[in-house]
């Protein structure tokens, strides 16, 4: 009798846990069509390993550099571990986590997040942290990132956060319950449309231009982490003209790079060398580059990376070449499809573009 009861309770518990797991999967946002950036971080695990360069940072990396161009032109294998408004501690913990999967030769950190010294936004936190696999790095990143309204438990059990999505469930939530969609190219989010820069931001004076101790602390940790793992750390500032990158900030980064013997590239000062034309190379008035701009960036940056760090050309390795050919095929197919949509609809209907008639 006791045995029967034990098994009944056990089965009931299994059913309960199973149903909760199912509900959690169902209710978690799938980020399939609207805010696809939410899938960036989780897609890495299918592509981990074999990358010589890892980029970390916010949208200024995942929208401004094309890893496929780096491959096609230089044979450089790379991956962008970028996410929307990625904060510096999140970048650090992503670097730390990445080193558990592979040891690249170079890690590139985009320094825009030096401007944020405290947790900013729960939605962005979620997009970076939910996609990470469980590890000490994820735990530390969550702890460092949580805003006051958040709690750790809801990261452990995202059902507690997303339970209220029950009223927004759509066919997409069921379709992508146990699968996902491939949308990125080694962490690069492609956009081929053009929306030229029409005005430049005015530089509102700040009371204090000094980056915070917290940000420097994480920058120091990045330096130490890379040193400990024999990885070269490169600092970059992408050529996005929004938000404003102040000269005073740039000065601090230059000084830091010099002090620590790091390469620091501010692409805002190199737009001519890169060949960026803000009339044709941005899809949102200069906030992010489009495919044309991202390929120019990769072309220019790839040369520097290869020359400075003697990165091997993997195109001669048949096995790697075959893998990357697949990635390149997917990349060009999407490029073609985006141009087709642009011609057909006047905007990128399936790729997050805005219908000009609805604006």
């Amino acid at each position: 009798m006791k045995k029967k009861r034990f098994f009944t309770v056990l089965i009931a518990l299994c059913l309960l846990v199973g149903s909760l797991w199912f509900l959690q999967r169902l209710l978690m946002p799938k980020y399939i069509h609207d805010i696809i950036e939410g899938r960036l971080i989780s897609e890495y695990y299918d592509n981990a390993g074999g990358n010589d360069v890892i980029f970390v940072g916010d949208c200024e990396v995942y929208e401004n550099i094309s890893p496929i161009t780096l491959w096609e032109e230089y044979g450089i294998t790379s991956y962008i571990r970028g996410s929307a408004q990625q904060l510096i501690w999140q970048s650090y913990y992503l670097m730390e986590e990445t080193l558990k999967y592979e040891t690249p030769k170079v890690m590139v950190f985009n320094v825009l997040s030096m401007m944020y010294d405290e947790p900013q936004n729960e939605a962005y936190n979620r997009m970076t942290l939910d996609g990470m696999r469980w590890s000490q790095s994820k735990v530390d990143s969550i702890k460092a990132s949580m805003t006051e309204e958040e709690d750790f438990l809801s990261y452990v059990f995202p059902l507690l956060r997303y339970h209220s999505r029950w009223s927004e469930l759509s066919g997409e939530d069921f379709q992508y319950l146990f699968q996902t969609k491939k949308s990125f190219h080694q962490g690069y989010l492609m956009r081929v449309d053009v929306r030229p820069v029409t005005s430049y931001p005015s530089e509102t004076p700040l009371a204090d231009y000094q980056f915070s101790d917290t940000c420097y602390e994480y920058l120091d940790k990045m330096v130490a982490l890379c040193e400990a793992n024999g990885v070269e750390l490169v600092l970059m500032k992408a050529p996005s003209i929004y938000p404003v990158w102040y000269d005073e900030w740039d000065q601090q980064m230059e000084e830091y790079a010099e002090e620590h013997g790091l390469l620091y590239l501010n692409f805002l000062d190199l737009t001519e060398e890169v060949g960026i034309d803000f009339n044709t190379d941005t899809y949102d008035n200069g906030l992010h580059l489009n495919l044309s701009g991202a390929e120019k960036m990769a072309h220019y940056f790839g040369k520097i990376l290869q020359d400075t760090y003697q990165l091997p050309d993997h195109r001669q390795d048949p096995e790697v070449a075959a893998q990357w050919q697949e990635k390149a095929d997917f990349y060009h197919a999407m490029e073609e499809d985006q141009y087709r949509e642009l011609e057909e609809y006047g905007y990128l209907k399936s790729y997050g573009g805005r219908n000009p008639n609805e604006e």
Binding site: L16, S19, L27, E122, E149, L153, L160, S164, W166, S167
Partner: protein, 526 residues
């Protein structure tokens, strides 16, 4: 630490594990330690208030009991040599002696409550009447001060009356005052009800714990699925009185009644369930009050422990005090037996309801709310002969289902209407808003989609409707006995399926987390 917070659930889990792991003789000590941790969570400085009440009440009660014992012993020893009058005089003198610590303690603790809770109310009235500009004190209200003060004073009065001797152990008495499940919003327990179950050893009892967890979950359902979801619409209606008049006020009236019921009874379900998990049996505070057929019955079934506290410690003493007896005599002489005997009863009732209103909050809306309840009760009482005549004339009508339904509906509407004073917290505004129900004529709001502009979607309203329907069904089922007992008799798959539905409903449909404001229990503020 809100009952519905993750911190509290974790705290409860740790307490539960420790409770059944420590030697049983230390269980009450663990509850005491846990209660103080829980209380200090709101701010360690608040401990000073509850410790003062605990310490002074314990000392005074012990003092009273000691004097009573000494007097009884002396009387016993000298019984033979004393006349009846001498014994009476000695007893009166003894009572006078015990009255000193009793009154000192009573005044001190009620004084603390009065100062903390009512100083600003007093200042605002002085400013209003005399045109002064006295600054408000803005004391931070210690958690559950009204509840633990009343519980302690009830104990002190009982000891003074010689109902039971004082508790010798300061720790055990401290646990009676601070027992964490009930310190925030009651029920206001009596020492003789709670003491034994609180201090005795509790072996692990699977059935009891299971029942306790079920009750907690049911409380969570009421609070998170119904009350906190309704809160969004109620807040919208109440906080923008100029935008929501007429039929919206009627809507607010009924929605608030349901919200308050789900909130308060949900909180009490959690309280009783938590106590049950620790083997402690608390008294019930509600008995399906919305099924009441008249106001008097409603108040016997709503917040029962508060009602009985006021009855035993205010109404009865006032009714039999010397001035009231004199008034009773005089009124009977002047106004005749029929009317004269009702005057002191109604006066005592009015005093009790004035205090009840004041207990609920330091503002005139609560006092008016109390007095309106009193008025309804007195009018109902005065109409008794008419009801008797009506039922005598139409004996079949009163026995029909529809008449009973009418009575229940009438009581619900009446109580909801009076309770609207609780919402606007401004007497003239409340009367103005209620007046618009009869003048506005905007009855179309129930069908033109206006309900969807109150911050709740169609899906939210559907959840509320289903939640209320479930609550109604459970209440109906509860009329013929414990719902949990009935459930326990069902086959295992049915039982587990229902538990699953309840648990998952709370998890998925509960209004908690980001996007919902963490809502305090309404009765926490009292």
């Amino acid at each position: 630490m809100l009952f519905t917070s993750f911190e509290f659930i974790a705290f409860l889990a740790v307490m539960f594990l420790l409770y059944y792991l420590v030697p049983k003789k230390f269980q009450w000590l663990l509850l005491l330690a846990g209660s103080y941790v829980f209380y200090a969570w709101a701010g360690p400085h608040f401990l000073a208030y509850i410790l003062t009440t605990t310490g002074t009440t314990w000392l005074a009660a012990r003092w009273i009991t000691r004097m009573q014992a000494e007097q009884a012993a002396w009387l016993k020893a000298h019984k033979a040599e004393m006349s009846r009058e001498e014994r009476k005089a000695y007893k009166a003198e003894g009572k006078k002696k015990t009255r000193r610590p009793f009154l000192a303690c009573l005044l001190l603790n009620l004084g603390i409550l009065a100062v903390i809770k009512y100083t600003d109310f007093f200042i605002s009235n002085v400013n209003g009447i005399f045109g002064t500009d006295l600054a408000f004190m803005r004391f931070a209200l210690p958690m559950g001060i009204s509840f633990y003060t009343f519980q302690s004073m009830g104990y002190l009065i009982d000891v003074y009356r010689g109902k039971y001797p004082a508790q010798d152990s300061l720790g055990k008495f401290a646990l009676f005052v601070s027992f964490f499940p009930q310190v925030v919003q009651g029920p206001i327990s009596r020492y003789d009800d709670l003491a034994q179950t609180l201090y005795e050893e509790h072996p692990y009892d699977h059935r009891n714990i299971s029942f306790g967890v079920q009750r907690i979950c049911w409380g969570f359902f009421k609070k998170l699925v119904v009350a906190d979801r309704l809160l969004v619409a109620v807040n919208e209606l109440i906080q923008n009185p100029a935008d929501y008049t007429g039929a919206f006020v009627l809507l607010a009236m009924f929605l608030y009644a349901i919200e308050l019921y789900a909130d308060f009874t949900g909180g009490i379900d959690m309280t009783i369930g938590i106590a049950q998990v620790f083997g402690v049996k608390l008294v019930e505070n509600f008995e399906r009050p919305f099924f009441s057929k008249n106001t008097a019955e409603y108040w016997r079934r709503w917040h029962i422990t508060m009602g009985t506290w006021f009855r035993d410690y205010i109404f009865y003493p006032i009714s039999v005090c010397q001035p009231m007896l004199k008034l009773s005599k005089a009124s009977r002489e002047k106004l005749g037996q029929a009317l004269g005997k009702r005057i002191p009863v109604y006066l005592s009732t009015a005093i009790v309801w004035f205090v009840t209103g004041l207990w609920h909050g330091a503002s005139w809306n609560f006092i008016v709310w109390g007095m309106l309840n009193c008025l309804v009760l007195i009018v109902s009482q005065e109409f008794e002969p008419f009801y008797a005549w009506f039922h005598g004339k139409f004996p079949k009508v009163g026995k029909t289902f529809w008449y009973r339904l009418f009575q229940v509906g009438r009581t619900f509407c009446l109580m909801s209407a009076i309770r609207i004073l609780d919402c606007y917290r401004d007497v003239p505004l409340t009367f103005h808003q209620v007046g618009t129900i009869f003048t506005q004529g905007n009855w179309g709001i129930f069908a033109d989609g206006s309900l969807l502009a109150l911050g709740l979607s169609e899906a939210d309203w559907a959840v509320i409707a289903i939640g209320v329907a479930v609550m109604l069904c459970v209440s109906l089922a509860g009329r013929s006995g414990s719902v949990r007992e009935k459930l326990a008799a069902k086959p295992l798959p049915v039982r587990y399926a229902l538990y699953w539905v309840l648990f998952v409903s709370i998890l998925v449909f509960g209004a908690y987390g980001i996007g919902y404001d963490a809502s305090q229990f309404i009765y926490n503020q009292f």
